[in-house]
Symmetry: C3
Subunit: 173 residues, 3 copies
Amino acid sequence: MFKYIKNEIKLIREKDPSIKSNIEALLHPTFTIKIYYRISHYFYKKGHYTIARFIQNRGKRKTGIEIHPGATIGKNFFIDHGVGIVIGETTIIGDNVMMFQGATLGTAGKEKGKRHPTVGNNVLIGANAVVLGNLKIGDNARVGAGAVVVHDVKSNTTVTGVPAKVVRDYNKK
Amino acid sequence: MFKYIKNEIKLIREKDPSIKSNIEALLHPTFTIKIYYRISHYFYKKGHYTIARFIQNRGKRKTGIEIHPGATIGKNFFIDHGVGIVIGETTIIGDNVMMFQGATLGTAGKEKGKRHPTVGNNVLIGANAVVLGNLKIGDNARVGAGAVVVHDVKSNTTVTGVPAKVVRDYNKK
Amino acid sequence: MFKYIKNEIKLIREKDPSIKSNIEALLHPTFTIKIYYRISHYFYKKGHYTIARFIQNRGKRKTGIEIHPGATIGKNFFIDHGVGIVIGETTIIGDNVMMFQGATLGTAGKEKGKRHPTVGNNVLIGANAVVLGNLKIGDNARVGAGAVVVHDVKSNTTVTGVPAKVVRDYNKK
């Protein structure tokens, strides 16, 4: 438990230069929402969906961030600011992912079952970006602010725009 | 009253596949914000504007959704997630409309009187879409995620982009 | 103090036609968040960063608006609706600036020190617009809804789109 908090503080101080002390890091939305998510995820896995959603709603009210208790999230997930973030039930997020305020990992509306994105490792998802449907965001990809993504994004690329197009491809040299 | 709640639960379970029980549906933001809206709308129509806004603010704090008490909203209005949604005072919304998080039905800033959109029946407004001014969104239209709409949208069309352009027109076959 | 409140009410009633009385103006998010900002800014300048962030968080929970206590803000700053607004630590905002819901004055992620925008006088920043990095928005500029700005914006121009381009230039006649 103590180790978990220590790691979280380290992560937050590393990623957010506006944080000036360990105590201040505990007031960061990343710290708050991840505790709510972990508790709600625990109840969700046990099949207590209503309790899970109740806890999700409490976290949403405190932070403006809505992570569905069913989502799967890797290590060192970092959110900045975060008001308006939505992460859907069948989303899978890898390690070291950063996500900014207003960004959505949502559904395109027609799918059943796995209907939210699968996000690789070291991905950055910019402010107000919208990623919709059961698609893949490859490792090290960057989704620009305000981008709308409705197709897979290849690893090591940067996509921007509405709809999102590749503007940088680090696979080619 | 009981019938109203029953209908709401039916609507929410129909539209949101992540809801797993009737009790969980009562925790959905659609259910919460529509109760706040109905009460604030009642006071607004009686001319108690300050009370109406007070109730609007309570609902906004709980859900992140801001529906002006003066807005006119049809049957089976459904909101998903909803943080960041803004619906202006002179907005008119038809029946069976869906609206996602971060979407705005706002004003272009120069108009007086009716200065917000009129939205038809069966319209879908995607996440982070912004619709500005006293314009019309026709029946069965779809406004894509992140679209910025500043002109009328014809019935049976899909618009996307900044500024929004028609990408699909179901009137032509 | 009384004069401050009087000015705020005047500003809010001038800018928002949906406000119908002075009392109602006190329920406007502009009024609420600016009080939180002023208190948090006071503690920030004294070096009490954790207290400052605690107050920032309270204001964010009440309004959905996140203004970093370190930001510098001019006279007659007006926010409408405001859920999802983010204003970063080293942002400088001039006089008579308007900002709408979902808009971000943020950082591009690679900079140190001054890493947020400098916004001139009489600037308007539309709903869900994202302005990133230590760049300049000139006097009287307008940033359209949903625009993503990553370069300087000249005075007396209007920019829109992702990425933002000049669509009107009042310097040329």
